[in-house]
Assembly symmetry: C2
Homo-oligomer: 216 residues x 2
């Protein structure tokens, strides 16, 4: 069955982006370093059209995380700067250029209706205005039996977790302290959501912690 999966890099003090995020600095101060473990990987470079790179204990984790995906869901705040003028006149087409690294349909949660935008390489942005369950349903339909990736941000991950709609969660715990910024699950209150450990992988500059949610 098609699953909803999420994986996200987090600092030791529990932040997925640094303080003072802005359109110029979408990951906040220090936040770029959260991805220092993945950028050097040969598997990551290949997925982004590059060459060379490393093979280490993170390689199979990255490959597993990116395998078998047929669609994705992301929040409005991850897709583009909130209140950006380009959004208003419908010119904003995400942070990821003309040929985004997704290569599958991406369902963006928003309050503003907008026609789908087809990008190069198989990525189409769909804008969903009727909530997280509807977005997931459309994404699963589009995924054709493959899994759906929940890209974030934290507020949206928290909403899917609280609603019991997330099946797998992987945290890439990076040994750095951001001191502030975005939390991984937004304002999620204690929900009684139960998680079960799947595995821990110790890799250079990161520890990968995988969980599955358990029906209460």
């Amino acid at each position: 069955m098609s699953k909803l999966r999420c994986h996200i890099s987090m600092s030791l003090d529990g932040f997925v982006a640094g303080p003072n995020q802005s359109a110029e600095n979408p990951l906040g101060e220090g936040g770029e370093q959260l991805h220092d473990w993945v950028v050097p990987l040969a598997a990551f470079r290949a997925a982004h059209g590059g060459e060379g790179g490393e093979v280490n204990a993170s390689t199979p984790v990255f490959q597993e995380a990116t395998a078998n995906l047929g669609a994705a869901v992301m929040g409005r705040g991850m897709f583009g700067p909130i209140g950006g003028g380009d959004w208003g006149d419908e010119k904003w087409t995400g942070w990821w250029g003309d040929n985004p690294p997704y290569h599958y349909p991406v369902f963006v949660l928003t309050h503003h209706k907008r026609d789908p935008v087809e990008m190069a390489g198989g990525t189409t942005y769909h804008f969903v205005t009727d909530g997280i369950a509807a977005a997931l349903e459309q994404a699963k339909e589009a995924a054709g039996g493959k899994d759906v990736m929940l890209w974030g941000g934290g507020q949206v991950i928290g909403q899917y977790l609280a609603a019991g709609l997330l099946d797998e969660l992987e945290l890439h715990v990076v040994p750095m302290l951001l001191g502030g910024g975005s939390r991984p699950f937004g304002d999620l209150a204690s929900t009684g959501v139960r998680l079960e450990q799947v595995r821990a992988v110790h890799a250079p500059g990161v520890t990968h912690l995988k969980y599955r949610t358990v029906a209460s």
Copy 2:
């Protein structure tokens, strides 16, 4: 050389105590569950004068964390309820009864001078009013070559981290969501403190992540 070590249980969403902490509920709502991994261990029971219990992958981690300790430092907020009347008239002697589980000198950071309090079993509470560096110096002196444990709370851990005085940090990551409460490092701002991964241990209901700090 004597090291300053710290280990603490943290929820997946980065809290070391749940919301609404009080004198009646010092770990906050849901916070008790952070210790569900350790309480059943035979090694933990033995250390607290009990019998029976489990042996699992957490056992060597617990044994390592509690070995070779000669003294400890803790914050005023961990020692007792802030603003408690018993503190004012010097009757408060910690949460841990007449024979506390430390069995070594414990240096409590506070703004209020008070004479040392000697408990049964080798624990003596000393009250230090001249700051974290002084408390650590006194604790190392008292530890006689063994290590010093930093018990918390988060604000105090953050202060030692930021000052570059903490040598080892272990997070026991528990697969639960508290949704709010106390942060592991208080209001620590990004400090440029560098941490290096030592190991990750996957155990029942917890993953143990150990780090050492690296001089920048």
